[in-house]
């Protein structure tokens, strides 16, 4: 593998975010929650988007889907998917691409399914919308999809309502609906957070299997580094709406370059590791309303110096081919 290319996707880029900026209007003031985010995701590749709660992960996903809540809007940048800028499409064109080009699975399988609609109809709905299938064809196809996502007795499950199914099964249904129209990109927003640990592993295996079979790219969003390490080829770490580090998953996890990534990994509990209190990162994620001079992580960073508080660090190549937005990293490698 060419080490120089670690900051770039391994295959031809499918999704390219270029300076994506999302602003939310709070009490009449516009606040930037995703700030100039730029990364690329190759065809069939998995990128893990990692960050704390409130770091802008979900806003990034919803911005790609163009499903931001009413108070939020894309304030700048481009979202190139297979060569077209999603941010510039009209609503009707974007709707036809949802499900077909890019689909999403959600954190809460309990609330992401319509409680008064059978699971078969919820999957068939996608097929009717995108493939123009008849009801009967869609039903047969929905059954095949249930089988593909590992649901036993798919014929019997088609006519069940969501409340009769377990959380793991409901997440499988959500996945079946998301992949029904064979999207090139699947966004998985905390796909296992609401599930039992054993079920989490099953869902991870299912996603890997489906990816191998369908060749879709996956953007997996989580604060759970264990999940990310199992799924992702590359990892992008965001902090307070900005990209702080991106690189091959194994490299980033083994030798993080950015102080924030280091802190994040240190705070992950390990079996067999030292007992006692887990490491924490001092301080809190800054409120987005706070003024953004310098590195946003500087107030919590033990290594911060004057320049961190006055100048925003640019993404720079770090040792091992990764890229990190830190003055220290830039100084280390040097121009």
């Amino acid at each position: 593998m060419d080490r120089e290319l670690d900051g770039a996707p391994l295959t031809a880029p499918l999704l390219e975010l270029d300076g994506l900026t999302v602003a939310v209007t709070v009490a009449g003031r516009s606040v930037t929650v995703v700030d100039g985010l730029a990364f690329a995701l190759g065809t069939g590749e998995t990128l893990g988007l990692v960050g704390e709660s409130g770091s802008g992960k979900t806003m990034t996903a919803l911005a790609i889907m163009r499903l931001l809540p009413p108070a939020a809007r894309i304030a700048g940048g481009r979202v190139q998917l297979a060569g077209e800028d999603l941010a510039a499409l009209d609503e009707g064109a974007m709707r036809r691409r949802r499900g077909r080009r890019v689909a999403m699975i959600f954190q809460e399988p309990i609330t992401a399914l319509d409680p008064v609609m059978t699971v078969g109809n919820q999957i068939a709905e996608v097929l009717v919308a995108h493939d123009g299938l008849t009801r009967r064809q869609a039903r047969a196809e929905a059954m095949a999809l249930l089988d593909a996502v590992g649901i036993a007795l798919p014929a019997a499950r088609l006519d069940e309502y969501p409340h009769r199914l377990s959380g793991g099964m409901r997440q499988r249904i959500g996945i079946a609906a998301a992949i029904a129209a064979r999207p090139a990109l699947l966004i998985a927003d905390e796909p296992t957070t609401a599930l039992d640990v054993t079920v989490q592993a099953e869902i991870v295996d299912l996603l890997l299997e489906l990816q191998a079979r369908l060749g879709m790219a996956i953007l997996v969003i989580s604060h759970n580094l264990g999940l990310i390490s199992e799924l992702a080829d590359r990892i992008a770490v965001i902090y307070a709406g900005r990209l702080v580090e991106i690189g091959a998953a194994t490299d980033v996890l083994a030798a993080p370059a950015h102080p924030y990534t280091r802190g994040l990994i240190a705070a992950t509990p390990r079996i067999g590791g030292p007992r006692g209190r887990l490491a924490t990162i001092p301080g809190m994620v800054p409120g987005f309303a706070e003024s953004a001079v310098g590195c946003r992580f500087a107030p919590r960073c033990t290594l911060a110096f004057d320049r961190c508080r006055s100048e925003v660090p640019a993404l720079a190549a770090a040792a091992g081919g990764r890229h990190a937005a830190c003055h220290l990293v830039a100084a280390e490698v040097g121009p």
């Binding site: 499903l67 992401a112 008064v116 919820q122």
Partner: protein, 295 residues
């Protein structure tokens, strides 16, 4: 109806009695032409020699000031009143639901515009407006003549008037419910699969707002029957000789001392039907909405 629903509804005795009463009234007015044929009496037949008769076998409720059979006129009037009440309530509910769904789901400017329109309609003084609208002869409106030609013109007109002013309650109810459902994950999920706005409104949001719609529509049937009575009483509603409970009251008002029965029968019919609709609406509310149930 599921067992739980039936049990909850059955526990509401007044609602049960009201439902039975409404069914009986509906069956009776539906059978009016049949009864007329059996009795061999024409409800519009004037017989000046048999005015103000008391109850008899031939005329169970006696005859009115023109010698017409009161029982049959009551049944025929009920057909008009109930049909107008049901048609206007259902049409108003359909229109209000559409407005509420679009406003609640679309939000933003569309919501603001539709809700200001709704507020505007609510702010109009109802009775003067109804009187002005009722004074319009739809047969003379360009393009509408064919629709309202003939004897039933006043009937269509009153339905149209009630729909025009009556959709606001349901529009606001549905808008509020749609607003809260719009933020649900499953709506977002459906959007993420590429479902159209129309499909999301009809398939994913509408089922969640049926309870308030059903309850409000049931209550509205009673209100519309009252409206119809008021307008007919003022001479602006259903035009004689077509009987309605409202215009039967109008006819009887000057005879209230001479023939009080002519006032009592249509008045009682209106009173019972409206109150039955209200109790039924309350009962449905309790049965369909678990939060409102009292134990």
């Amino acid at each position: 109806m599921s067992g739980r629903l039936a049990a909850a509804f059955g526990g509401h005795r007044l609602a049960l009695v009201s439902a039975a009463l409404l069914v009986s009234i509906t069956l009776a007015v539906a059978a009016a032409p049949l009864l007329a044929a059996i009795l061999g009496v024409d409800p519009d037949e004037v017989n000046l020699l048999a005015r103000f008769q008391g109850p008899s076998l031939a005329h169970p409720l006696g005859t009115d000031e023109l010698g017409r059979d009161v029982a049959l006129r009551l049944l025929y009037g009920g057909r008009v009143s109930l049909a107008v009440g049901l048609a206007a309530a259902v049409l108003a509910a359909a229109f209000g639901t559409a407005v509420g769904l679009v406003a609640g789901y679309r939000g933003g400017l569309v919501d603001a515009a539709l809700m200001r329109l709704t507020d505007g309609v609510i702010a109009l003084p109802l009775l003067p407006l109804l009187i002005v609208l009722a004074a319009i002869d739809p047969a003379k409106l360009p393009g509408l003549g064919w629709l309202v030609a003939g004897e039933d013109a006043s009937l269509y007109r009153i339905v149209a008037i009630v729909v025009l002013v009556g959709w606001t309650t349901i529009a606001r109810l549905v808008r509020g419910a749609a607003l809260s459902l719009r933020g649900r994950d499953y709506v977002l999920a459906a959007e993420s699969y590429g479902a159209s706005a129309l499909r999301i409104m009809v398939v994913h949001i509408l089922p969640g707002v049926t309870t308030p719609i059903i309850v409000a529509t049931t209550l509205a049937v009673g209100n519309v029957i009252l409206f119809e009575s008021v307008l007919s009483f003022l001479g602006l509603g259903i035009q004689p000789p077509t009987p309605s409970w409202g215009n039967m009251l109008t006819n009887a008002q000057e005879l209230i001392y001479d023939a009080p029965a002519l006032v009592i029968w249509p008045g009682a019919a209106i009173f019972l039907t409206v109150i039955a609709c209200n109790f039924l609406g309350d009962g449905l509310q309790d049965a369909l909405d678990p939060r409102a149930r009292r134990d």
